[in-house]
Amino acid sequence: MNFEISLIWESLPKIAEGAELTVRLHLLSLVFGTVLALGLVLMRISGIAILSWPAFAYIYVFRGTPLLVQVFLIYYGLAQFEFIRASPLWIILREPFWCAIIAFSLNVAAYTAEILRGGIQGVDQGLHEAGRALGLSTSQRFIHVTAPIAIRLSLPAYGNEMISLMKGTALVSLITMYDITGVARTIMARTFAPYEIFISAAIVYLGLTWLIQRAIAHAERRFSRYVRA
């Protein structure tokens, strides 16, 4: 077979243009998903059955089904319903971009809620007791003691989640969008050079991963200043 290294470099700029969409999907879903995760984890650890069970069920469903299935259900599935097409929601739900954001956010929320739960449970019980003995209320203890420590404990796993979401955004190429993978597929259809083009796409993804890793390492350093002497 022919292998043209030059094709990798030539296609890079075009594919990198798709990166803009990838990054937008990634950042928006992360923000929405993480906010949602905060609510979920509070419900999950509330100790109140009518709050913790729905949160548990939600997390089970969204961690237990493939992301692609979730994207298809929202993009193709919801469009089947006449009342949805007739509702004002349709303005959002007919856009593949927003369908993807919704699916990714819901999915990230489920994973992040579990990551945060692990972090919260990792906080030493003795610190709660010290807080209680000093007269801090439950919410004061959560905000000033548990949360800052739980964030540090959660960061490595959250970094993994960020990277895995970034790769997950490639699924939007299956619902008509031109992200990195989507652009790569169209170029491939023209050139019939799958190796070169997808290597080029992989390079762009690796670049993004590198940026995420740097950001997480930076955050870990900031939140761990106090750990080592």
């Binding site: 030493d124 007791e129 010290a130 209680r132 003995a133 000093l134 420590i149 106090y226």
Partner: protein
């Protein structure tokens, strides 16, 4: 020291507490006057820690009464908060907040609970850090301090809330031998200033020099309580004698 009203600062009447099927306290009676120093000793699992943890409601007693400075401990949140304002506690594992500096550890509760402005809270913190002789460590994180320094910060953190009573739950048990003295010295100074103290410890030297009363617990009960001279030289119960011979020989 039993003066005028003789109303005890801390009063326990037939206090019981179980964890599942294990009965940790089997009807404990104890009365402590204002300014008294009580040392509690006994084998592990005897209920010493459980008893003092009931006094500031870190554990909830199942039976009997606990009255602290006139406030009975019930399920009322207001009463529990009121008691916790009166009672400071020092733990075996220090339990300093690792993400806050020494000074910030001291400032947190005054700012949040007593609503003292940051600047005043900082002054208060520095005052108490000086009292435990480590003002120069104010801006270090707990991980940067030795065990003895951490425990002194923990003592200062409790003092910042100006408690009437201090509880110590094996404050030197997690420390290397060379650091025990610096912590005990601070506790001795606190005792001299008239603080009401209950100290769970096996430091019998401390008990001899500071305690008004030594309490020996075994198996969820108070077996013996006496002033230190009597306690160490003419213990009445066999269980006390056996315990003393074990811990005084090394």
């Amino acid at each position: 020291m039993a003066d005028k009203t003789s109303a005890a600062m801390i009063q326990l009447d037939r206090v019981t507490k179980s964890f599942g099927s294990f009965q940790a306290l089997k009807g404990v009676d104890l009365a402590i006057e204002r300014g008294q120093k009580v040392v509690v000793c006994g084998p592990s699992g005897s209920g010493k820690s459980t008893m003092i943890r009931c006094i500031n409601r870190l554990e909830e007693h199942d039976g009997g009464r606990i009255v602290v400075n006139g406030i009975e401990l019930t399920t009322s949140v207001k009463d529990i908060d009121a008691v916790r304002r009166e009672v400071g506690m020092v733990f075996q594992q220090f339990n300093l907040f690792p993400h806050l500096t020494a000074a910030e550890n001291l400032m947190l509760a005054p700012r949040l609970v007593r609503k003292i402005p940051r600047k005043e809270a900082r002054e208060l913190a520095m005052h108490y850090l000086e009292r435990v002789h480590i003002p120069e460590q104010a801006d270090k994180y707990p991980a940067q301090l030795s065990g003895g320094q951490q425990q002194r910060v923990a003592i200062a953190r409790s003092l910042c809330m100006k408690p009437e009573i201090m509880l110590f739950d094996e404050p030197t048990s997690a420390l290397d031998p060379e650091m025990i003295k610096e912590v005990l010295d601070v506790m001795v100074e606190l005792a001299r200033d008239g603080m009401t103290m209950i100290v769970v410890t096996h430091e019998m030297g401390f008990a001899r020099s500071v305690a008004d009363v030594v309490v020996f617990m075994d198996n969820g009960e108070i077996v013996e309580q006496a002033p230190p001279q009597d306690f160490f030289h003419q213990a009445r119960s066999e269980r006390t004698k056996a315990f003393l011979s074990r811990i005084l020989t090394h």
